[in-house]
């Protein structure tokens, strides 16, 4: 090994900062959570250090397993809805003139400044009976009387897709701006209509980033509990709602920890499977 290739002490020094951040803000809290999931819960108080599997056994109860499957299902669906809207949106955004394009991007990103609580409340009102969108339809004469669209499954789905939308756009944006316009033009000179060009050139080339955006939305919405809590009935609640409920309302942190770890492992599994399918089918 030559002199130049050997990492110097300074090179390790550069690594120290991210490693320290990772240890302090991720590994240690996660370790504490893993430990807590085996602690003994004291009814009416908090918990005492112990090593028991009660919390994990309780997870096997059909209610929680059913909630876990539901959570993964609705979040995958939110990912599909979100990417389904965000991808064409971002693609056409990047094909616009510079000024329109930047303005729209700023509008979308400004939605990031809204807290999840405000978003949930806004949708709660918009989909409600008293002053929601159905009143406009009544005023237009399209409906006889206002209706409530929440709580419902669709309302939760919509809310989840909404909060993840700006992040999804941000993931897709850099790659789509770099997409060479000559690629789509080449397809057109070979007889492909703009619509077919979109399907046969733009989407296949952008596939890895579409999958990345989809997974981001999935993981991101899996952690959201306010949306499901406000816009859904108990049967529309995700596992995150139960985790929050156990941790704060029931003061059962050991069980909340066990559920949180379970959810993390499940989402890692889904991400791994989707990633594997993506890389296996990319090159035909």
């Amino acid at each position: 090994m030559s002199e130049r290739e050997r990492p110097t002490r300074g090179a390790y020094g550069v690594l120290a900062f991210p490693v320290a951040m990772l240890v302090i803000f991720f590994l240690i809290p996660f370790g504490i959570m893993v430990a807590t999931s085996f602690y003994h819960r004291v009814e009416g108080a908090f918990w005492t250090p112990a090593f028991e599997l009660d919390n994990w056994e309780r997870l096997l109860h059909p209610v929680f397993l059913e909630r876990a499957v539901f959570s993964i299902g609705i979040c995958l669906l939110a990912g599909l809805v979100c990417v389904g809207i965000a991808f064409p949106f971002t693609y056409f955004l990047t094909r616009m003139r510079r000024r329109a394009h930047v303005t729209l991007l700023i509008v979308v990103l400004s939605a990031l400044s809204l807290s999840e609580v405000i978003v949930a409340f806004t949708w709660y009102i918009l989909l409600g009976r008293a002053s929601g969108v159905s009143n406009i339809l009544v005023w237009l004469g399209l409906m006889n009387e206002p209706a409530a669209y929440q709580p419902s499954f669709v309302a939760v789905l919509l809310g989840l897709a909404y909060i993840a939308f700006p992040y999804c756009v941000l993931t897709l944006y850099p790659q789509l701006t770099r997409l060479d316009p000559e690629l789509t033009e080449a397809a057109q000179t070979m007889g492909a209509s703009p619509w077919r060009t979109f399907w046969t050139v733009v989407i296949p080339i952008a596939r890895p980033i579409i999958v990345a955006g989809f997974l981001l939305v999935f993981v991101f919405t899996l952690g959201s509990y306010i949306i499901a809590f406000f816009l859904g009935r108990p049967e529309h609640w995700t596992l995150s709602v139960f985790i929050a409920d156990q941790a704060s309302a029931q003061a059962n942190v050991p069980f909340a920890s066990a559920m949180a770890i379970f959810l993390t492992l499940l989402s890692l599994l889904v991400v791994g499977v989707v990633g594997l399918i993506e890389s296996r089918t990319r090159r035909i």
């Binding site: 000559e182 690629l183 000179t189 070979m190």
Partner: protein
């Protein structure tokens, strides 16, 4: 049996404006089918915009485009029956070589066996047999260029358009591919338009050169004709190098340059200010005195021997030094600072502006 004539192109009063910038400023052009035509000009002269309007990728602000007599101005690119090679080549990274070449046929809904057969044929045509399953990322620059060519020809288009297709390649490969492309075009007899800023490329390949500057056509003609008889100082300077001599025409075929009489071949020029163009290889160095006609005295400021060519820069009191070039074989030894004269033979003096 009548031979089908395809790919005749006509532009009528074509103008293209982008906001405030006029890229193409009123072009009328009629191009014969079956030939190779090059649009030659410096960057920003509007040559690529012209090509894109012919392809249907840009819509002219004014004017019409006719293909085989049919007005195609309002027809989008995908209905025009053209093949195009882009500057970036624009090969699809998600498809292999065969997938790229067969893309157009697949879009058209051709049966699988027919696509495979056509792809094989095209791979052979561009000497890439057996590389159909390669990924684009595994190809060299020259191979990619050939794939792009094959892909553009797959649908047997009426027009074959190339937008600076060789600009990313190194000089040797570029020359080789220029010859290959030209031979391919002659074999297929397909109407071809190539955009280039390289005059050697244009002269190597074309039947017809369209020299453009600032959105207008400066000259249209056979390569050698454009080289020998440039229509304007711009063309003279852009196609090869030249010496420009400003003078005053007497109206009787003679021109006075710096007070010395010049005979000009075919010089029935009206009296007034004129500019003469003389190619460096047509100018001659005279070491024993100053001839009376068609010559200027001067001092040698720089001499260089390029091996294949010997060049001499002579200060004749004009704006720029006069360049005299010749074969090293019949070169008179001269030195920097020597007092000499440069002779400009009458048949080499071309009036480029009056």
């Amino acid at each position: 049996m009548t031979v089908e004539v395809r790919g005749g192109l006509r532009l009528e009063g074509v103008v293209k404006r982008f906001d405030e910038v006029t890229a193409v400023d009123g072009v009328d052009l009629e191009l014969p089918p079956g030939k190779l035509i090059s649009f030659l000009g410096p960057s920003g002269c509007g040559k690529t915009t012209m090509l894109r309007m012919i392809a249907g990728l840009e819509r002219p602000t004014e004017g019409r485009v006719f293909l085989d007599g049919e007005d195609v101005t309002d027809r989008p690119a995908h209905t025009r029956d053209i093949g195009m090679v882009f500057q970036s080549l624009a090969l699809f990274p998600h498809l292999n070589v065969a997938g790229n070449i067969g893309y157009g046929l697949r879009i058209r809904g051709a049966p699988k066996e027919q696509i495979a057969a056509t792809v094989e044929e095209l791979l052979k045509l561009v000497s890439l047999e057996g590389l159909g399953q390669r990924r684009i990322q595994q190809l060299s620059g020259g191979q990619r260029q050939r794939v792009a060519t094959a892909r553009a020809l797959a649908l047997e288009p009426r027009l074959f358009l190339l937008d600076e297709p060789l600009s990313a390649l190194d000089a040797n490969l570029r020359e080789q591919l220029q010859v290959e492309l030209r031979l391919l075009q002659q074999q297929l007899q397909i109407t071809t338009i190539i955009v280039t800023h390289d005059q050697r490329e244009a002269m190597t390949m074309s039947d017809l050169v369209v020299v453009m500057n600032a959105g207008r056509i400066e000259q249209l003609g056979a390569p050698l004709e454009v080289y020998r008889r440039p229509a304007s100082p711009f063309v003279a300077g852009f196609i090869g190098r030249t010496n420009l001599l400003r003078g005053e025409a007497a109206g009787d075929g003679t021109v006075a340059v710096a007070g010395r009489p010049f005979d000009v071949a075919g010089g029935d020029t009206a009296a007034g200010d004129v500019t003469l163009s003389v190619r460096p290889e047509a100018a001659q160095l005279v070491v024993d005195g100053v001839p009376e006609r068609n010559a200027l005295p001067g001092t040698i400021v720089f001499v260089r021997d390029l091996g294949e060519l010997f060049e001499c820069f002579v200060d004749c009191g004009l704006d720029e030094p006069v360049i005299v070039a010749g074969s090293p074989r019949d070169w008179v030894p001269v030195e920097q600072g020597a007092e000499v004269a440069v002779r400009f033979p009458a048949e080499a003096c071309v009036v480029v502006a009056s």
